[in-house]
Amino acid sequence: MPGVVCNLWKNSSKFSGINPGFVRLIYGSGEKMNEDRLYIEQFLRGDEKGFEMLVKKYQNRVLNIVFSLIGQDRESEDIMQEVFMKVYHGLRSFKEQSEFTTWLYRIVMNTAYDFMRKRKNFVSDEAILEQGVAAHGGPKDVLLAQEKEAMIQKALGSIPVQFRAAVVLKDIEGLSYGEISRVLKCRIGTVESRIFRARQLLKETLLRMGGMTL
């Protein structure tokens, strides 16, 4: 049958939210709906499994972005939860004028910014470093890895939040400059300069802290 594309979804853990052997027939242009759109449609039809699949897909990405921005474990989880609650309540009015990820990451950024504005007295990076090392008396390489992690987080925390956001979206999440510009609502040139400045500052800080040698 001309113009018919048959997609057989594999029964892997990635697609466990969709019934095994699910077959989607696409007529005409052959344009393939992406996975996120499928989950959103599923949710909008009243099946909350669609929302759960979105959560499972993005929860760790959101968590890592937030943690890189604020540097606190428990608060990162709370913010992540708040992000997905906003997604749940806002999904019905999400008009799909942008990619779901653009919309999601914007919510992540705004929620994290709100937290940072309200909690200016959060635990310092030195305290995080000390807690991390003291609480986990284990093998030396584990301690070293934790120290390195704390050092990286301290370095990230030392740069302005706008630079931090850009470099996190680029190097943690792997977004392109164009995608970052849509999330942060700024020009691509601005994204480039923020990432450039972020890396310059991180280089200086990491060299000073001994977290890097040239």
């Binding site: 759960e52 959560v55 499972k56 929860q59 760790n60 968590l63 890592n64 943690f67 474990d73 990162s76 989880e77 992540m80 939860q81 997905f84 609650m85 749940y88 890895a145 992690e149 990286i152 990230l156 470099v167 996190v168 680029k170 190097d171 943690i172 392109s176 400059y177 480039e192 990432i195 450039f196 890396r199 991180l202 280089k203 990491l206 977290g211 890097m212 040239l214």
Partner: protein, 143 residues
């Protein structure tokens, strides 16, 4: 030197594979011959690598989903509970202004009465006969 300045401004973008073909070729050709720019590129690449390869946190899938379910269920319970106003019932709600009005009228009445009494006291003091006033002064002055 101009080439070094131009290349340094392109290095971050080059690392992210966001340069045009022409700029990519320019950077690669220059870095091949310039040790300073090569060192700078290496440093930026290390910084990028440090961030890119840092440990990623991961939570169990069902943990996050179940927490969200709990919070959503709690929200639904709150939405279903009527507010204290709804609990009162229609007729009772209409009667609420009555005692409020009674209290307001009582307060106004009390204020008016108090005002009259103060005025009466002032008048009596002003109009008191001289004998009474002199006697009061004698007492006060101890004569």
């Amino acid at each position: 030197m101009n080439a070094c300045v131009k290349v340094k401004n392109l290095l971050s973008r080059y690392l992210d594979q966001e340069t045009s073909q022409a700029d990519t070729a320019f950077v690669e050709a220059h870095v091949h011959t310039c040790p300073l720019c090569r060192k700078e590129l290496s440093a930026l690449a290390q910084v990028k690598n440090v961030i890119t390869t840092r440990q990623r946190k991961a939570l169990p899938e069902e943990y996050v989903v179940s927490r969200l379910r709990e919070q959503l269920d709690a929200e639904r319970v709150m939405e279903q509970q009527p507010s204290w106003l709804e609990n009162i019932g229609g007729l009772s709600r209409k009667l609420i202004p009555v005692p409020v009005g009674v209290i307001a009228v009582s307060l106004i009445f009390f204020m008016l009465i108090s005002g009259q009494q103060v005025k009466s006291l002032e008048d009596s003091l002003l109009n008191a006969d001289s004998t009474t006033t002199e006697m009061a002064l004698d007492v006060i002055l101890g004569e």
